[in-house]
Assembly symmetry: C2
């Protein structure tokens, strides 16, 4: 199906040199610019406006990302993974707003996606694009949510496709287990993440597998953008002042911007939000480049927030461009602030986020303290991954339970001691 | 608010002696019959039929369990936990149907509830009933999904209520962690589960806390019944021939029956399904009592499926009554069959269930082989809990990944060896 016309997509545009390319499923990077030649999907907004409006959307009972089909770079008839990706809840939390020092806060729990993270939104698109490229094997190098979401979405095709996942051998067995449950071919590489990544690239090229390495594949950001589109729809198209995301590779926040940008172009929203990107102090190369206006300098990965621990992010240009266009900002949080926020969020909302999943909320607190976000401004933040994925770090966030013998008197004493 | 009139509830009826009681929030058991005096909520179906129909329901945009309000034993105005409980996806799976030897199979992934299990449906009701009883502390003895769902739903009330959870000290730290993240007061009891349970009962009575021990509280089954009501609605009120659930305490399958029974009474469905209850061979006291027609004999708990490892189930009478009324059956599966099914399900659907969560599906396979379910019959099964809750057992289900050095030649050799 390579080269089949996409109804609403005009071109792929290189964000470095501006060169345009035909939107083929395997047109990953701008050949002229190499790794910096990240491509962006350009839509024909006029055509979309003619064919699609808010009423059509409201009448669509499908809660998944496929309800936004005119804004997705796929052929409508390509078989889709059957998992219900997207449609995650958006909660308004007065208690958390108060704790963060703002008036209005919305929390989107993307940990309730089928495999437990926002990355399902990107992997679902990868599964569709692979088929449009005539390929049934999709591959990536990852130990985390990109891998598990790819493995799960591939599995939902019912044995018609296969995921090949490259992991560095240091990857925790718990994360590898989810991949194996989904029937992925998991290749454990005795080497660093960089070595693992380059082996995957070589194999993908040589074997003709479809590439689900996010920064390289322009279509994956288009899946990720559905998180901000959903927020807009859930807020009845009244956009908040700030959209907040944790930042690793840069793809997710770039996708969030693309989502609201698209909505503005087709007239679904009037106002664009400012973006706040939050990195972990132990691995913040994008914040560094953003603040200093310099090129990106790779750094070590010293943070518990493994889903955003990307020392050499490949999509920093798109991320920085998005945040700047939005008049937004970036901020870093410490591991301790992340651990504290896991507990604060859990206790006040019943949402259990993984470390990278709550880094954004920890960033709001700091941004309010620093005067970046005003207390009168409204904020929405996405919890990007489920805490059940990383119980080990959650253990660090909480204390131990109270211990006692099975004795009512001892219990009474204990409860009195704790003023309960 | 104790004793406030519930619009559509007539009475609580003892399933042992038939005595009727006023539906007070703290009317747990029939005082005459003690532990066997499980109560059942009786509705005024005529009144419901007058006030509510399928069109009303269809027009309701709320995807959560609260869309079924006329069939829930709560006051409409009591504040509800804010987590989006229910509205989990129902997937039709041709591949799994074929593997199980049947024509039509639906899989409901209740692991996508906010805290990762079907038990959110019961805990949400407990949080509402506690408030109607004027209590802000809710307690239970559990290491598993009952506890985490209670802790999460309580937390979502934003610090207005508190969960007190009794766990035996052998409880794995991973499960305790989720409770602590949700801010529950966790009391680790140096004793057996029985000792822990009785200490919780004593404390609940003495302290005036609300009781969320499921078999004792008649309202919790009413929350659980929403899983089968949702299936019915998702199937556009065309009920399948068989509804399949794994069985531990007996409450969940009893709830499933109550759900379809209610729907039949108000004319939303015409046909009632047969129920298949599935226990684990290592802990199957209800199957034993069901098959032999004897009273229940407690047994040890020797199974990896810890969410259904209940040696002394407290709601077996309601479960057996439901299965008999449905002309259904019971069957046991081994731990190995459960582990195999975790892998088969994951690989063919992208759904990752915990051991108890997939026991039902393993039971379908066996029931088809034994001629209990005919290949022409349609089946729906609920995956009751998320596999991320129990990574340790999942590790047992899967093998190890393939290992290699970061070398393309070695990779090619390896892929050839595996005929890939």
């Amino acid at each position: 199906m390579e080269g089949k016309k996409l109804k609403y997509v005009k071109d792929l545009v290189c964000i470095s040199c501006g060169e345009k390319y035909e939107p083929l499923p395997t047109q990953y990077l701008c050949p002229k610019c190499g790794e910096k030649g990240i491509l962006d999907v350009e839509y024909d907004y006029e055509k979309i406006k003619t064919d699609w409006n808010k009423q059509d959307l409201k009448a669509n009972p499908d809660p998944s990302i496929w309800r936004y089909l005119p804004l997705l770079p796929i052929e409508p008839t390509t078989p889709k993974p059957t998992l219900r990706v997207g449609g995650t809840p958006l909660y308004k939390s007065k208690v958390m707003a108060k704790l963060l020092g703002i008036e209005t806060l919305y929390l989107k729990d993307d940990g309730l996606n089928p495999t437990g993270s926002l990355k399902d939104r990107a992997s679902a698109i990868a599964v569709v694009k692979a088929q449009e490229a005539g390929m049934n094997i999709v591959s990536c190098a990852s130990t985390g949510n990109a891998a598990s979401s790819l493995a799960g979405n591939i599995a939902s095709m019912g044995n018609e496709m296969k995921a090949v996942i490259f992991v560095p051998s240091r990857a925790p067995i718990g994360k590898v287990t989810q991949l194996l449950i989904f029937g992925a071919l998991v290749l454990s590489v005795k080497g660093s993440y960089e070595e693992t990544f380059y082996l995957s690239q070589e194999a993908i090229n040589k074997r003709g597998w479809y590439n689900r390495n996010a920064a390289i594949n322009p279509y994956l950001v288009e899946g990720k953008k559905t998180s901000s589109i959903e927020i807009a729809e859930q807020l009845n198209w009244e956009m908040v002042d700030w959209l907040v995301y944790s930042v690793g590779d840069g793809c997710t926040i770039a996708g969030a911007w693309k989502g609201v940008y698209d909505l503005k172009q087709i007239g679904f929203i009037d106002k664009l939000p400012k973006l706040l990107g939050v990195q972990s102090e132990g691995c913040a190369p994008i914040t560094e480049a953003f603040k200093k206006g310099t090129d990106l300098i790779p750094v070590p990965e010293n943070t518990i927030a493994d889903s955003i621990a990307v020392g050499k992010p490949r999509n920093y240009m798109k991320a920085i461009k998005a945040i700047k266009e939005s008049n937004g900002d970036m901020i870093n949080v410490s591991d301790q602030e992340i651990l504290d926020m896991m507990k604060t969020l859990g206790k006040n909302t019943g949402i259990f986020g993984e470390p990278a999943g709550v880094a954004g909320i920890a960033g709001i607190k700091k941004a309010v303290e620093n005067g970046i976000i005003k207390s009168s401004e409204s904020v929405a933040v996405v919890i990007t991954g489920n805490g059940l994925k990383d119980i080990k770090n959650a253990e660090k966030a909480v204390g131990a339970p109270l211990t006692l013998r099975p004795d009512l008197k001892e219990l009474s004493q204990l409860l009195n001691d704790y003023n309960f």
